[in-house]
Symmetry: C2
Subunit: 202 residues, 2 copies
């Protein structure tokens, strides 16, 4: 399947977003209009504090006129790698230092009309200093143990798509790691090697 | 926390999307610019075929120039309820009839810059007829049993944010239902009542 671009017109050229209106040709020869929001991409981090609790931020989101509890996240700056962006956002939004940072994968938030791709990470955090948020952002750090997080799921209070994806990828990775650990109880060297490959040391 | 709107200007007024540029005042008195994409909202459905397999669609997404496997989903039409939209999208995209439809909750796909809210459902499907897709959409139905779906997660092939959220909410609901069923083995009438409340019969 494919859609060939027949024409593309820039309809908005903003500071964060751009918007193009495309005419495309489908495989079946039909033509269709596509309104596409261009976004620079972002990162999101499933983070654990030194005491084992999960680290979130609560912030007011103007687009939806309400507060939301979300994983730590932020927009890629020009030329910035996802890893560097993740370290920067953790420092700015939470004040914690990063002990280990592991890529989990990536998602598209709204592939029907938006280019935004979010690179997801799992981070184990070390000692915290003061947070240093962007002056345009107001946010609170929220620490939840696993039972409190699951209670939040049960009462329908997890409403941020990237946070669901980060949790799903973290859980899948934990299941794989646990399975490997059970195998490695028989062959310890194998486990050591596999874990090292996955970690990006600080 | 709050952000007061100082001014708002419509910068794009499209067929699907609108885009406003806002000046806002933060709690701390600072002013900031917000570029906000207005979207009519959507639905997404974690669906099971009569044989127990999960139902997805594979489609080419122009915004990201690649194919994606996603849950059945679609945009709300003017005046349409999420339930009616879910039934319509299942019929159009897959050809299946809906046996039961259960609301799972809702998510925001990109709350930092977009109003889109997706209402999520769990659907058990009945006999299928021919699909009747939107002429502007080309898609294939993909049926996966749970092992194949989990293998897809493990190889990093689940890249759609709403699909992650639908899976997480489906799993959380299944855990609750299983827990209630275990309790109800002792008090059968209680289980009957609780399940009926959650279902929207066709």
């Amino acid at each position: 399947m494919n859609e060939k671009t027949i024409s593309s017109q820039r309809a908005f050229d903003g500071r964060l977003l751009k918007l193009d209106v495309l005419e495309v040709e489908l495989d079946n020869g039909r033509r269709a209009r596509r309104e596409i929001v261009r976004h620079p991409g972002a990162v999101a981090i499933w983070a654990r504090a030194p005491d084992g609790r999960f680290v979130f931020v609560r912030q007011f989101r103007k687009a939806i006129e309400q507060e939301l509890v979300e994983v730590v996240a932020g927009t890629l700056e020009a030329g910035e790698t996802p890893e560097a962006c993740a370290r920067r956002e953790i420092r700015e939004e939470t004040g914690y230092a990063v002990k280990t940072l592991t890529p989990l994968g990536s998602i598209f938030t709204a592939p029907g009309f938006c280019t935004e791709r979010i690179f997801l990470f799992y981070a184990e955090l070390a000692t915290s200093g003061p947070a240093d948020p962007d002056p345009d952002e107001r946010l609170d750090v929220v620490l939840l143990d696993e039972a409190a997080w699951k209670a939040m799921i049960s009462r329908g209070a997890v409403q941020d798509a990237k946070t669901w994806a980060a949790w799903g990828m973290f859980e899948a990775r934990r299941r794989r790691t646990d399975a490997r650990r059970r195998t490695a109880d028989r062959t310890p060297n194998e486990e050591q090697r596999t874990n090292n490959q996955e970690l990006i040391a600080d």
